[in-house]
Symmetry: C2
């Protein structure tokens, strides 16, 4: 005898055959349920696996559009960190050398997250490629104007009819003029600039891109020192901070930038959110643009 | 006594307490497994649900880019049917009124299927929007040249660096000139044209779009009668047909077009694949362009 299931005393089976039969049928029923469950579980696993394979493939495709995690363009180093809340990201960054002196960079955050938002990132990548191509063959100079670039993204996003909008910070650094020109399309938190006078938020605001036919964007210009760092965040980071109000959260960002002294976005993230992030409610992107 | 599990004769428990304990511990272990399984199943269900919600949202976004299933542009009626093999489709169609006389239409089939291929469809939609806008403000007339349009898609697809290519049939009908001009980018099967002389495949071939820096595309021109139908398919339909070789499969397509006499893509599909398709190995698209 190995377990309680086996104990039916032989000589009693004769007199208790109804009970015996119902006990056996009960066991068979249980076994049936176990098998049904197993089948259901296998179906679940199969569907999940199929969707995961699909999303992983798409993630690879999205990866192909992103720049290297660390890019050196002349005297400027751009680094970024992107943690999608699901497989695909609605946060997107790019860094583009426009000409010898000018470097364009942006951090965009498409409304929502996952596959639906990732669809819009293709549009962004395609747009800046095109503006650069037009600039090189001298057919359009829109790429030199951060605000014009936002207007174009706005128009095309509306025309494509995706029903998605985005927030974006887009800047152009001119190393010769020692100048940063930038446009803000509903982006928050604002990037932090660090130079000899410390770390502070850049100023400016603007409407989201792709929501209104005639939006207003803010274009600003600031002088740059010889050494500086610009640190950009998508708003996903704010949700992860425990501080109660926005002012305290923003202070945390500045503190993290000060504390990590130009050591790149990975360190900034570790300072803000120690430990590995396996689940975040929204995509998180951090980018640093550095001249040293 | 209700089942075999309860049968441990009290007076024996004293002498057989080790066995009794092991029987109980076996049952507890089983109960533990059941609970673990249940937890695992719940985790599976949760992950699957999350991905399904994500894909469903993206599907809605993709839907926003597609035209109405039936569009009437002047004397031309365009109808299409799109059955994705997963939530998102790598097959894509569009119909655009270029001016009073000219209607552009295309059916594209991005390599692979699902989310990764859907990313490319955004590029297609954006591209034709842009070509139309440029044409209307007279800054580019590429939209009037099917082959130039394919070259542009090729260039931008390569530049965007997605690592995906596509096959496409793109045509422009000029109702005044009674003419169809079209370009073929690696598309197969070719569309079927039906007029007073019967139903037959259009001629032409070409390289896939987005694979080579300098591809060759075939542009052709044919005269149209007053009444005609052009029936386009993506290659997903071929995999679903039982016929052994390609010639027999292609004949099936022609037969289906003949049999359904301009009743639209839904009927063509029913004729080829009777019953509801819940699973297909590849996306299936059928489009009919009709003048009656």
């Amino acid at each position: 005898r190995s377990g309680a299931n086996d104990v039916f005393i032989k000589e009693r089976i004769q007199e208790e055959n109804v009970e015996f039969a119902s006990a056996i049928s009960g066991l068979l029923h249980q076994a049936g349920l176990v098998e049904k469950n197993l089948h259901y579980r296998e179906e679940l696993e199969k569907s999940l696996h199929e969707l995961q394979i699909d999303q992983q493939a798409a993630r690879q495709i999205q990866q192909n559009m992103l720049p290297e995690n660390s890019v050196k363009l002349g005297s400027i180093t751009a680094q970024y960190l992107l943690i999608p809340s699901l497989y695909l990201s609605g946060d997107f960054v790019d860094v583009i050398k426009v000409d010898e002196e000018k470097t364009l960079f942006y951090l965009a955050d498409v409304s929502g997250h996952g596959a639906s938002s990732a669809l819009v990132t293709v549009l962004l990548k395609n747009m800046t490629n095109r503006l650069l191509r037009n600039f090189r063959r001298r057919s359009s100079f829109d790429i030199l104007s951060p605000v014009d670039t936002l207007y174009r993204i706005n128009t095309e996003l509306l025309e494509t009819g995706l029903g998605k909008h985005l927030s974006i910070f887009l800047g152009i650094i001119d190393t010769e003029k020692k100048q940063l020109r930038y446009a803000v399309g509903g982006h928050h938190p604002m990037p932090i600039i660090t130079d000899s006078s410390g770390s502070r938020f850049l100023e400016g605001r603007g409407m989201p891109v792709g929501l209104f036919p005639e939006p207003m964007f803010d274009e600003r210009k600031i002088s740059l020192e010889d050494q500086y760092q610009i640190t950009l965040f998508s708003d996903g980071i704010l949700e992860m901070l425990n501080e109660g109000d926005m002012i305290a959260k923003e202070q945390r960002l500045v503190d993290a930038v000060v504390e990590t002294k130009g050591e790149g976005p990975e360190r900034v993230k570790d300072c803000l959110l120690p430990g590995i992030i396996s689940e975040a409610p929204d995509d998180i992107a951090i980018m640093t643009i550095c001249r040293q």
